[in-house]
Amino acid sequence: MREKTNDLSFEKALRRLEEILRTLDQKDLDLDTSITLFEEGLALIHFCEQKLKEARIKVEVVLKGEKGFYLETLERAKDILKNDNK
C-alpha cells in the first residue's frame, strides 16, 4: 500500500515507482486505478527529486578514547592520529 512520504526512503519510493510502472503496463487496467497510480507516481518522482537535491555526504572518524569510542571530524582525527600511521 501507499506509504506516507514522511517516513518513506528514497529506495522504497523508487521501488514503489517501478511497481507502479509495472502495474500501469498491464492490460485491462481500469481507468480510475490508472489515474490514481499515475498521480501517486508523479508524487513519488517529486519526492525522489527532492531527496536527491538534499542529499549530502557526511564524514566522521571513529576514535578510541579512555571512555570508549568517540567521533571526530576528518581533519581533527588526522591531527590526533598524525604519528600513528593509521
Binding site: S9, F38, E60, V61, L63
Partner: protein, 435 residues
Amino acid sequence: MEIEKLFDSQLKEEKFYFSVKEISQKIKHLLDRGFTHLWLEGELNNIKHSQVGNIYLNLVDEDATIKAIIFRDGRSEIDQTFLQEGKKVLVFGRPTFFTRTGEVFFIVKRLEPLGIGKLHRKKEILIERYKHLFDPNLKREIPSFPKKIALVTSLFGAALQDFLKVSENRWGVDILVYPVKVQGEGAHLEIVRAIQEINDYFPEVDLIVITRGGGSLEDLAPFYTEEIILGVRQSRIPVVSAVGHEIDTTLCDLAADKRCPTPSSAAQQILPSKEELSEKLRLLNIKLYQLLELTLSKKEKRIKDLHLAIQAKNPFREIHRIEQKLKDYRLLFFQKISHILNKREGLLTHLKKDLQSLNPLNLIEAKEEKLKHMKMLLFSLSPYNILKRGYSIVKKYPERRTLKSIHEVDEGSLIEVILYEGTLLAKVEKVKSKP
C-alpha cells in the same frame, strides 16, 4: 655372501633378467606414480635454451641438484624475467624419468620468485581450505541505497581521499571512517577487529568498505591472511573489498560480498550517482506519462469501437432510412401532382375565358342597349312628337276613331282635336271638299 642371497631370491621371479628398456620404464612408472604435481623451492642454475625451444635448467640448494626442463609448449605460462641465474624461485610441476637419456627431470609448469611465490602458495592453500566460504550463495546483499557506511582504511592513504572525492557528488550518505593500519605487521588483526567492532558498536552501519590503494605484493600481505577471510565472513554487515590495483585479487576480495578493483570504483559502485538517479527519474517520469497516455488511448479506442458497433446495430438507422425514402417519395409525389394540377389549371383558365365570353349578362346588356336604342328610335317616330310642331290629330267623338277623310263626318258632328298640350272637343260647322 649377501649377493648370493639376492641371487637366490631372484630365482623365484619369473624373469631371468631384464632389458634396460624394461627397467627404465619401470623406473619411470614408479616416479610418475610416486609424485603428483608439487611446488619445489630452489635456486636457478645453468639455464640453457635448446634449439627446439625447450629450456633446460638446474634447481639447486646446498646439498642437492635436480635437472629441470620447461617444455616449449609450457613457456608462455612462465614469466621469463624470473629466469635468472642464482634466482631463488618456487617452481610447480612434477619429476619424471627420461628413458632415452636415463635422467630424472623436473617438468616445470609454473615459476615464481620465492617471496611472491610463497605468498601465492599461501593464497592457493587458503583458497583451497576456505573455498566453501567463497561460495557466491553466501554473499550478503549490498544495499542499493546505503544510509551509513563504515570505511575501514588508513586516514593518511590515497584510498580515503579517492573514495571521498568520488563520493562527493553522489548519493548522500553518512561515512564513518574507522582508521586502521593497512600494511605491515599486525595490520590484518586491526582490520579484523575493526570489522568486529563496527558490527558490535555501530549496528546502524549498513555497509563496511575495506579499502587501500595498490602496493607491492608484500604490502598487500595482510589481505592474504586467514584472519581476514574469517573476519570478513563473520561480519553480519555486508562487506565490500576494494584493495590494491585492478589486477590483484586478494583473499579479502574473495571473502567479501562484493569486490571493487579500486577505492574510486568502490565509491562509484556503492553510492548511486545523483546524475544517473536524476536521469533515471526523468525516464521514469516519461514512462509514467507514456503509460497513462497509452491507457487513455486504449480506452478511447475501445469507446470508439463500441460506438461504431452500437451504431451498426442502431434501430433508428433503419427508421431514418425509411424516413428518408418517405421524404423522397413525398417530393416525387408533389412534383407529379403539381404538374397535373398546373396542367388542369391551364385548361380551367382557358375554359373560364371561354365561359366568360359566353356570359348571358353580357348578352342581356347588349340586348338592353339595343332596346334602349330602339326605344329612342320609337320615341322619335311617335306621332305625338309631330304635335309639337303644330300638327293635330282629329278623332270622331265619342267613337274616338281617327278621321282620315272629310266624308266620315257631317255637319254638326262632334269631333275631338288632339293638340300637343291637350284636346279640344268641337262641332263641325261646314264640310267643304277640295276643289
